[in-house]
C-alpha cells in the first residue's frame, strides 16, 4: 500500500510530452491530481517519490477504440478486467464501442457503463461510444442527444457498418448539433462475403475465403464523400489497407474533415501469420499484406493516420479454440499495444519516441476533446512510465484482460509499461 500524499514527484525520468514539446530528463511534480511543475531537481519534501531514472515519463495513452464487453458478455471481459488491462497497457483513458448486450444505444446503458467503471474500474477513464442506430441495425437513429447528455464521447455502429448512406448523412448532421462525431467501421459486407482473411496469395494457399481490400476502401471512399458533401467530421476506424490510407491522404489534402486510426496489429503483423490457421490471427479488418503494413506505417508518419487505437477485442478461449472459419474475430490488444508499436515504429526507425507517444496520447485526446494527452503544468496527472528498451516476451496467459487472444503470444518485443497513473493516483505498478 502506497502512502497517501497529495504530492507526488516522479524523479529523474526522461519526460517526453509531445503536446508541450518537452523531451528532457527532469522531475514531474504532481499536486492534487494535477501537474504542478516540471523541472530539474524539484524539491520533494512531503512528497511520495517515484524513481523514474532511466525510464520515460509520458502522458498516459488514450485508446479511441476498444471493446469492454460489459454489459452482456462479461465472460469475455468486463469493466473491471478491461480497465485493469488498459492500465497495464499504459492507458489512462479508453473509448469503448457500443456493441454490448444490450447495445449502448440509449442513455441508461451509457450511464451503466460510466457508473460501473467509476465504482469498480481500475481508475482508467472510460468514455463510452454510443450507437449510431438503434440496436446497431442501421435503420433508425439512436437517441444521440440523450446519450451525449449521459456521457458518450462519439457514435459508431462498430462491427456493423452503416450500409444506408442516407442514414449516415442524417446521423452526421444530427450528431454534429450535439457536438458528437461519427467513428466509422468502414466495410462493405457484400464485398466481404464469406471471407475470413485478407484476399491474396495467402488466402489462395490456405484455401480460406478472402476479403478484398476493396471491401474496406469502397466504404472509406463513401464515408469521406458523404462527410465532404456535408462539411462534417468523420473518423475512420482501423484503417488497414494501402488504398485506404491513400484515400484518407487525398481527402485530407482536399480539406475534408476526416481523421483516422490504425491498430498495432496492422503495423506489426501480416496475413502470412495466418499460415497454420492460428485463429488468434482472425481479426476484422483482416491482417493484410506487407505493402499494406508499410502503407499504414507511412500513413502514421506523414500524419494521414492520426492515432493508434487498439481495437482491443477480448474473446473467451472457447471462441478461439475452434476452426478458423467459426473463430471469433478480434485481438486482445491493450497489453501489447505499446511494445508492438514501439518495436515496429521506433526501434525500426520510422518515427521518434515522441511521435509515437503523440499518436497514442496527445492526438487521440485532441480528436476526442478529452483531458489528458499532455503533461503541461495544470493538466490532469494522467501519466505513464515506460521502459522502452526493456525486452519482454508476450505471455497472453499473464494478461489482466480476460481475453488471452493475441497473435503476439510468445514473441519478443521492446517496450515495457512500468507504471500508470490517473489523476495523480497510481493505478498500475509493475510487480
Amino acid at each position: 500500500m502506497l502512502a497517501v500524499y497529495d504530492k507526488t514527484i516522479i524523479r529523474g525520468g526522461r519526460v517526453v510530452d509531445p503536446a508541450s514539446g518537452i523531451d528532457a530528463v527532469c522531475d514531474l511534480l504532481i499536486e492534487n491530481g494535477r501537474i504542478a511543475a516540471i523541472g530539474e531537481n524539484l524539491p520533494c519534501e512531503e512528497a511520495n517519490v517515484i524513481d523514474a531514472a532511466g525510464k520515460v515519463v509520458a502522458p498516459g495513452f488514450i485508446d479511441m477504440h476498444c471493446h469492454l464487453r460489459d454489459p452482456g458478455q462479461e465472460y469475455k471481459e468486463d469493466l473491471v478486467s478491461g480497465t485493469k488491462s488498459a492500465a497495464r497497457g499504459g492507458f489512462t483513458g479508453v473509448c469503448c464501442m457500443p456493441n454490448t448486450r444490450p447495445v449502448n444505444d440509449n442513455a441508461s446503458v451509457t450511464r451503466y457503463i460510466i457508473e460501473k467503471a467509476q465504482l469498480r474500474g481500475s481508475g482508467v477513464h472510460v468514455y463510452p461510444v454510443g450507437a449510431i442506430s438503434k440496436g446497431l441495425e442501421g435503420t433508425e437513429m439512436a437517441e444521440i442527444g440523450r446519450m451525449k447528455q449521459a456521457g458518450i464521447i462519439a457514435i459508431s455502429d462498430d462491427g456493423k457498418p452503416v450500409k444506408n448512406s442516407n442514414l449516415l448523412r442524417l446521423a452526421m448532421q444530427y450528431a454534429d448539433y450535439f457536438g458528437v462525431f461519427i467513428m466509422s467501421h468502414s466495410e462493405d459486407k457484400n464485398l466481404v462475403g464469406d471471407g475470413v482473411m485478407n484476399e491474396g496469395y495467402m488466402s489462395t494457399k490456405l484455401g480460406l475465403p478472402g476479403i478484398t481490400r476493396a471491401a474496406e476502401e469502397v466504404m472509406i471512399a463513401r464515408d469521406i464523400l458523404v462527410a465532404e458533401a456535408e462539411g462534417k467530421r468523420i473518423h475512420l476506424c482501423h484503417v488497414s489497407t494501402r488504398g485506404g490510407v491513400q484515400l484518407v491522404r487525398e481527402a485530407k489534402k482536399r480539406g475534408v474533415r476526416v481523421t483516422a486510426e490504425t491498430a498495432p496489429h496492422y503495423i506489426g503483423a501480416t496475413d502470412e501469420w495466418v499460415a497454420g490457421y492460428d485463429s488468434n490471427c482472425r481479426v476484422n479488418p483482416p491482417l493484410r499484406e506487407e505493402e499494406d503494413r508499410l502503407a499504414c506505417i507511412a500513413g502514421l508518419c506523414d500524419g494521414t493516420l492520426d492515432a493508434i487505437a487498439t481495437d482491443h477485442a477480448p474473446h473467451h478461449q472457447d471462441e478461439k479454440r475452434v476452426e478458423f472459419h467459426i473463430a471469433a474475430s478480434g485481438i486482445s490488444g491493450f497489453e501489447t499495444a505499446f511494445c508492438v508499436s514501439y518495436t515496429e515504429l521506433v526501434k525500426k526507425g520510422y518515427m521518434s519516441l515522441s511521435q509515437l507517444i503523440e499518436k497514442m496520447s496527445a492526438a487521440p485526446a485532441k480528436l476526442l476533446g478529452v483531458e489528458g494527452g499532455s503533461l503541461a503544468v495544470g493538466s490532469a496527472a494522467d501519466v505513464v512510465v515506460l521502459d522502452p528498451e526493456r525486452e519482454l516476451t508476450v505471455d497472453a496467459e499473464a494478461f489482466a484482460s480476460k481475453g488471452h487472444n493475441t497473435p503476439f503470444h510468445g514473441k519478443t518485443y521492446s517496450g515495457a509499461v512500468c507504471m500508470t497513473m490517473v489523476g495523480g493516483r497510481v493505478i498500475y505498478e509493475e510487480a
Binding site: 484476399e199 491474396g200 496469395y201 488466402s203 489462395t204 494457399k205 490456405l206 484455401g207 480460406l208 475465403p209 478472402g210 497454420g276 490457421y277 472457447d318 479454440r321 475452434v322 476452426e323 478458423f324 472459419h325 467459426i326
Partner: protein, 309 residues
C-alpha cells in the same frame, strides 16, 4: 518404406521421394484389391476412424474398405455440417477418439485448416480427406497414381485442370503434388472461379479451355456446384458449357494418348460432357480403384513404426 511424419494434412511440402514411395507402395496394394482374397495383416491391431463432417461416397468408402482389407478395426462417425457450430468442438471430439485408442483419424471437414487444428491436439495420426478449399491429398495421390501408370512418368507432362478451381481442394493438392513431381499444371475456369495469385503455387492459368487442352497429357474436370451459379459466379450452365465444358472436341486438341479424368462426383453436361466422360480416353472409373490402393498404402505407411514390416 515408411513416412517420417505423423499426419498427412496436404501435399504442400511433401517431397518427391515421399510421393514416389506412396505411389510405389500403392501399386503393390492394388494387387490385394484385385485379388480373390482381399485380406492382409498390414493393419492388424490398428484402429482407424473416419470422421466426416461432409457427405462423401467414394472417399469414405475407399478408406473404410482399405482399412478392412488390411484387417484394421474400422469405425466411422458422421457429423452433419450444421452441428459443427453448435455441437461438440472438433478438439473435444478428437481428444475423445484419441482416448478410445485410435491410431488414425481420417477427417473430412467443410472448413480449411480443420485437420491441422485436430492434428495439434491429438496423438493419433491425422489424414486429411478434404478440408474446405484447402487440400485433398489422397485424391491427388490417386490421380497421380493413375496418370503415372498410363503415361509412365509424371515428369514433364502437361495436366489441364478445368472447372471450379476456386473452391477446389482437389486442384490445390494436385498443383502441389504434380509440380513436385515435375509436371506442368495449367488451369482453366471462368475468371470468377480462379483464386488470386494461384500462379504463385507453381501453375499457370490458360486464357481459354482450348489453350489449356492444347498438347495436354491429361484433361481433368472439377465439379461445378449449382450453388456457384446462384451465388452469381457465372450466369448460366449453358454459358458455362459454351466456354468451359470438357467435350470430345476439346479433348481432341490434347495429345493422342491423353487421359480424361475427374475426381467425381460428376455433373454430366456441366463441367464434362458424357461423351468425354465415357469416351475411350477416360480413366475415371480406374481412378476409383487407384483410390483404394493409395489409401491402403498411406494407412500402412503412417502406422508402421521404424524397423517393422
Amino acid at each position: 518404406m515408411n513416412l517420417k511424419r505423423k499426419d498427412l494434412l496436404g501435399l504442400d511440402g511433401v517431397s518427391r521421394e515421399e510421393i514416389t514411395g506412396i505411389l510405389d507402395t500403392a501399386m503393390m496394394m492394388r494387387q490385394v484389391v484385385r485379388s480373390n482374397n482381399k485380406k492382409t495383416a498390414h493393419l492388424q491391431g490398428k484402429s482407424i476412424v473416419t470422421l466426416f463432417y461432409e457427405n462423401s461416397t467414394r472417399t469414405r468408402m475407399s478408406f473404410e474398405l482399405a482399412s478392412k482389407y488390411m484387417s484394421a478395426a474400422a469405425a466411422n462417425i458422421s457429423a452433419s455440417a450444421s452441428s459443427v457450430a453448435k455441437g461438440e468442438t472438433l478438439i473435444d471430439t478428437g481428444v475423445t477418439l484419441d482416448q478410445m485408442g485410435t491410431d488414425v483419424i481420417i477427417i473430412r471437414h467443410p472448413m480449411s485448416g480443420a485437420p491441422a487444428l485436430l492434428a495439434k491436439h491429438v496423438r493419433s495420426s491425422i489424414i486429411n480427406a478434404g478440408d474446405g478449399m484447402n487440400e485433398h491429398p489422397t485424391q491427388a495421390l490417386l490421380d497421380m497414381m493413375t496418370m503415372r501408370e498410363h503415361l509412365g512418368s509424371l515428369d514433364g507432362i502437361k495436366v489441364a485442370i478445368c472447372g471450379d478451381v476456386m473452391h477446389s481442394r482437389v486442384a490445390r493438392s494436385n498443383i502441389y503434388g504434380l509440380t513436385t513431381m515435375g509436371a506442368k499444371v495449367v488451369l482453366c475456369a471462368p475468371p470468377t472461379l480462379i483464386p488470386v495469385h494461384i500462379e504463385k503455387l507453381g501453375c499457370t492459368v490458360a486464357p481459354t479451355i482450348e489453350d489449356a487442352c492444347e498438347g495436354a497429357d491429361v484433361v481433368m474436370g472439377l465439379r461445378i456446384q449449382r450453388e456457384r451459379q446462384q451465388k452469381g459466379l457465372f450466369p448460366s450452365v449453358a454459358e458455362y458449357c459454351d466456354n468451359w465444358e470438357i467435350t470430345p472436341e476439346r479433348v481432341a486438341l490434347a495429345k493422342k494418348h491423353a487421359l480424361v479424368m475427374h475426381p467425381g462426383p460428376m455433373n454430366r453436361g456441366v463441367e464434362i460432357a458424357s461423351s468425354a466422360a465415357d469416351g475411350p480416353q477416360s480413366v475415371i472409373t480406374q481412378q476409383v480403384e487407384s483410390g483404394v490402393a493409395v489409401r491402403m498404402a498411406l494407412l500402412y505407411m503412417l502406422t508402421r513404426k521404424e524397423g517393422q514390416f
